[in-house]
């Protein structure tokens, strides 16, 4: 039986000060060009928390705006405020930076995060009044004196944590010489862990699962935790599960650049289908390094810094319940090593091949979910509208296969794609943002089939020039629970008993 997507959660964390202090574009600029014009004006381009919450694209990611509705809002979106904006959405939330520092503190089990006393006290009250965080408030401790924090930052022993430019805490290095345990790397990794924990805390409610039911966790972000002897040793998965209280789970990390989540979801599916586990959680935290990655271009075009949020998600894969959408593990398409690197070869391998396997046409898929980056982030940087480019490529291949007229390309893009609404956090846009809406629509009977397409730029690690891609279909549950081969009907049982009795009677007659 195919495994199902039992629940999905999506979270964002608004981190404007981390854009300045932890995003690599900014840290590199400070190192190589400290007097640059960009650094002088960047603060004027940071959005307030309220602006980040009311940004229609962020509201779409957490489930308060349907992607079809977002497409109907005239661009630019960054100067529009969604009037029913809310911190919380049906899939998750947008957390403010102060609470996130608190979450980093409660995720730190090596006493590396120090928060200023009065700030810590404020956080305690906020945690106690927050349904998701109150269970963790006790872990905040009592806080530290600001003089101690100042000293640690000034001596280069710790990375500062700031709120509106004011130092409110720090993250200490975990080793004097090991660069993999430097304060910078520990900050980066604790941010992954904390945002992963937030997504995990939301999935308990969204998937209606008990914490002890989760057997296994796969973490699939893009950071590496380890020390100088094992740089990517891991394991974010278990570290996240520990804080979220998944006592019966173990797990490990899966990496594959932007395609990581698509691989991880496939692993989770096979663990369920093979009956090794009953509930596998795929989870990912966000990347501080990518904050403000295209900031220079946004500032140049008079826009706010659009990459001011960390992204995260959690997906619970479980045994077939006859209700939730199924992952068609028999439809996997993969960009194999020998497939060739041209865009055509890639789309052929990861979109056309799975369709041909199941004898489906390009138009039999309601929506394709390739990389779902927000175009408002990528276009000013010259990278174009990534999801639309992908839909056009899929449509163009359909034309080459004789399944579509060339004049129908634009209609195909509109009807079989969504506008991009994911933050450019590497692994986050990789197809998985569609799962929340697709699951809802499939349960309501409004959608039949989507194709999830994960793509990864492996060459960035300089180990191979190859590109990667993996894909599969997610379908509405047919509602049939048993495998046909295993099913024995009442009539069949009667027939078997009758045959046995007949056989027995014939033996008696023979005697």
């Amino acid at each position: 039986m195919y495994p199902v997507i039992r629940g999905v959660s999506y979270i964002l964390v608004h981190t404007p000060d981390m854009v300045l202090h932890n995003g690599t574009t900014q840290t590199l600029e400070r190192e190589t060009n400290p007097d640059s014009e960009y650094l002088k004006v960047i603060r004027n381009h940071l959005r307030s928390y309220d602006d980040a919450v009311s940004y229609p694209v962020n509201q779409t990611y957490i489930g308060n705006i349907d992607p079809e509705e977002l497409a109907n809002i005239e661009r630019p979106w960054f100067n529009k405020k969604f009037k029913n904006a809310n911190r919380y959405g049906k899939f998750g939330e947008i957390m403010p930076e102060d609470e996130f520092y608190g979450l980093m503190k409660v995720c730190d089990v090596f006493d590396l995060v120090k928060l200023e006393k009065s700030f810590n006290q404020e956080l305690k009250i906020k945690f106690e009044n927050n349904n998701y965080l109150k269970e963790l408030s006790g872990r905040l401790g009592e806080g530290s004196e600001i003089d101690e924090i100042n000293k640690l930052v000034e001596n280069g022993v710790a990375e500062g944590l700031y709120l509106n430019d004011k130092l409110v805490g720090c993250v200490k290095r975990a080793h004097e010489f090991d660069t993999n345990l430097s304060s910078h790397v520990i900050t980066e990794n604790l941010a992954v862990k904390a945002s992963g924990v937030l997504a995990a805390l939301h999935i308990i409610e969204k998937a209606n699962v008990k914490r002890e039911e989760i057997d296994y966790i796969i973490e699939c972000s893009e950071e590496a935790c380890g020390d100088m002897n094992q740089r990517g040793g891991g394991n974010f998965a278990k570290a996240i599960g520990e804080i979220a209280g998944f006592k019966n789970a173990t797990g490990c990390d899966v990496r594959g650049f932007c395609a990581g989540p698509a691989h991880a979801l496939l692993y989770a599916s096979t663990l369920i289908q093979s009956k090794v586990f009953k509930n596998v959680l795929v989870v990912a935290g966000g990347a501080t390094a990518k904050l403000g990655m295209n900031g220079r271009d946004h500032v140049k075009k008079g826009m706010p810094i659009m990459e001011d949020v960390l992204g995260g998600f959690a997906i619970l894969v479980s045994e077939n319940d006859g209700i939730n959408p199924v992952i068609r593990t028999d439809s996997v398409g993969k960009h194999s090593i020998g497939a060739g690197a041209s865009p055509q070869a890639v789309i052929e391998a990861i979109v056309a091949a799975p369709l041909e396997k199941l004898n489906l046409k390009f138009t039999d898929v309601d929506k394709y979910a390739p990389e779902m980056q927000n175009p408002e982030v990528t276009e000013p940087a010259g990278a174009g509208d990534v999801p639309t480019q992908n839909y056009k490529m899929i449509a163009a291949l359909a034309v080459k296969k004789g399944q579509l007229e060339r004049s129908q390309i634009n209609d195909f893009v509109k009807n079989h794609g969504y506008v991009g609404y994911a933050p450019t956090q590497g692994h986050v846009p990789s197809g998985v943002p569609i799962l929340g809406f697709a699951r809802d629509k499939m349960i309501k009977g409004e959608m039949n089939r989507v194709m999830l397409v994960g793509k990864g730029s492996l060459f960035l690690a300089r180990m191979t020039n190859l590109f990667d891609g993996i894909s599969y279909l997610i379908e509405k549950n047919s509602g049939t629970l048993e495998d046909k081969k295993e099913v024995v009907t009442k009539d069949e049982v009667k027939k078997m008993v009758a045959e046995a009795l007949k056989d027995f009677a014939s033996h008696l007659l023979d005697e």
């Binding site: 041209s342 865009p343 055509q344 010259g382 990278a383 174009g384 480019q389 056009k392 490529m393 163009a396």
Partner: protein, 109 residues
């Protein structure tokens, strides 16, 4: 253009001579292709990389330009680039790269 690629273009030009180098671009956007073309001709317009202030004046084309398409085996070109030809704005990309080439390349052939 990626800083490391700028360095590679610079190194290869020093090794083989500017007259023997042709840069072939594959970017999907006219603006980005134009910036890359400018980098290998007039110099890095962002002043961030090794080609900042270095005018190599190389010959530069985009793979979708007519001149390059005519040099290729049509069957291979169709297999490798046919789909992207349908997807990208070939005219805008060609115009952008051609205008930069005509303005800054030291070879007018």
């Amino acid at each position: 253009m990626d800083l490391e690629i700028q360095q590679r273009v610079k190194d290869l030009t020093e090794k083989y001579g500017a007259e023997n180098v042709v840069v072939l671009l594959g970017g999907s956007e006219a603006e980005a292709a134009g910036l890359s073309a400018e980098t290998v001709t007039a110099g890095d317009p962002t002043y961030a990389g090794p080609l900042a202030g270095v005018s190599l004046g190389l010959r530069v084309y985009h793979i979708l330009e007519e001149e390059i398409k005519n040099e290729c085996d049509q069957a291979v070109y169709d297999e490798q680039c046919g789909m992207m030809e349908m997807v990208l704005d070939v005219e805008a990309i060609s115009n952008e790269v051609r205008s930069i080439r005509e303005m800054y390349s030291q070879y007018k052939d």
